[in-house]
């Protein structure tokens, strides 16, 4: 099992940069927006490492660190501090707090990884085919129809994840003679650009593979999809049974 890393920063930007830096490695990233959230997550998740910003609202990084040092369960978790301030006094203060290391912003993801590997080894993710259980996260075969159910909220990583599993699944379907798919959007609670991109990606890939796709969505989502140029012409079915009958 990989490392669990807690990143605590009020800036979503920095948390995304940290997450991106660790993407090639076998790590689970947990995020907190301030010291209060960070402390709660540290207690609950017991991370192997904390990447901690100093300047944050609600509770800053220095306060969170001093509270961690009072907790027997948390005091030995290594911490790398992030700071926008490289001044001598600030650096001295950080060092005296008992952190393992610190990084001054601006920084590149590679520099962060370099610091982390001085504290603990990172193992690269294995580039293997998705495991059956991972693949079945989205796909489910129902007779001669492949169901593809997507989660309630689509973010950029979801597109990458679904696309990486869709391509081998389409090959598998082709060799098994399966030519029908139902794209199930009924769990979707939020319409965003990533959702539209995901739908287009799925439809394009299926068209190339010669697979017919029918889409299932709630009435409200169906109405929203009609308003987008890219999805305006997609026929929407309101239940899996309706879609099956339409085949």
């Amino acid at each position: 099992m990989g490392l669990k890393i807690l990143t605590v920063d009020d800036s979503k930007t920095i948390r995304m940069i940290v997450k991106k830096a660790f993407r090639p490695y076998d790590c689970q990233i947990v995020e907190g927006e301030n010291g209060v959230e960070g402390l709660a997550l540290a207690s609950k998740e017991k991370p192997d490492l904390i990447i901690l910003d100093i300047t944050m609202p609600v509770m800053n990084g220095a306060e969170m660190l001093s509270k961690m040092k009072e907790e027997p369960d948390l005091k030995n978790i290594p911490v790398i501090m992030l700071t926008a301030e490289a001044g001598k006094d600030n650096v001295m203060k950080i060092v005296q707090m008992g952190v393992k290391d610190y990084m001054v912003k601006p920084f590149k993801g590679e520099q962060l990884i370099e610091r982390v590997t001085k504290i603990m080894p990172l193992s690269e993710k294995k580039a293997e085919a998705p495991a059956e259980e991972e693949s079945s996260k989205y796909f489910n075969l129902d007779g001669d129809i492949q169901l593809l159910a997507v989660p309630s909220k689509i973010l950029r990583p979801t597109i990458v994840d679904v696309e990486s599993q869709l391509k081998p699944k389409l090959k598998e379907m082709s060799s098994g003679g399966i030519k029908k798919m139902i794209l199930d959007l009924s769990k979707i609670t939020e319409t965003n650009v990533s959702l539209i991109k995901l739908i287009i990606t799925i439809l394009d890939n299926c068209q190339l593979a010669g697979v017919k796709v029918l889409t299932v969505a709630s009435a409200s989502l169906g109405k929203e999809l009609k308003e987008f140029q890219e999805t305006g012409n997609i026929p929407i079915h309101f239940s899996i049974d309706d879609a099956k009958a339409a085949f």
């Binding site: 800036s11 930007t13 991106k20 300047t55 926008a84 490289a86 001044g87 601006p106 650009v193 990533s194």
Partner: protein, 157 residues
């Protein structure tokens, strides 16, 4: 050290170039004139308070802000999901540039604290800042885009 001898022009230019280069892979060219294109723009600001007080503002057009956000997050502009992402990135840039300036001031004996960034956005507005002991404004160009960086400092209360 007198605040008037603090080399604000050098530090502000150095910090801005370093932040844009490291975080955005953008090499900036300094402009001779101070000018921003008309239209919507975003200003990221941080304040300094202590034995000196001050403020640092970064003005960029909406289109440049979107380009900066895409570069910072390693994505395409059309993948930006909300204004919140753009505001967060511009705020973080002002935090980094302001943080560098704060460190230089503290190292020079002017102890101060840095605020959390704030964002102002809109069109056809001016930010006038008066009563400062030392001020510097500089415009940088990146491709067709302009960034105006301003810093103002004075002795604290």
């Amino acid at each position: 050290m007198e605040l008037a001898t603090f080399d604000l022009p050098i530090f502000l230019r150095g910090a801005t170039r370093e932040v844009f280069d490291t975080m955005l892979s953008m090499e900036l060219n300094e402009q001779d004139t101070l000018s921003l294109a008309d239209g919507s723009r975003i200003v990221g600001s941080v304040s300094l308070a202590g034995s000196v007080s001050g403020t640092v503002n970064i003005h960029v057009s909406d289109t440049f802000a979107a380009q900066i956000t895409a570069n910072m997050l390693g994505m395409e502009i059309d993948e930006i999901e909300s204004d919140e992402e753009v505001h967060d990135v511009i705020g973080e840039l002002s935090n980094m540039i302001g943080g560098d300036l704060k460190s230089r001031l503290c190292d020079a004996g002017f102890i101060c604290e840095l605020s959390i960034p704030s964002i102002t956005s809109g069109r056809d507005f001016n930010i006038e800042s008066k009563g400062w002991a030392v001020k510097e404004s500089v415009c940088f160009q990146y491709q067709d885009h302009i960034a105006l960086i301003e810093a103002f400092i004075k002795n604290g209360g």
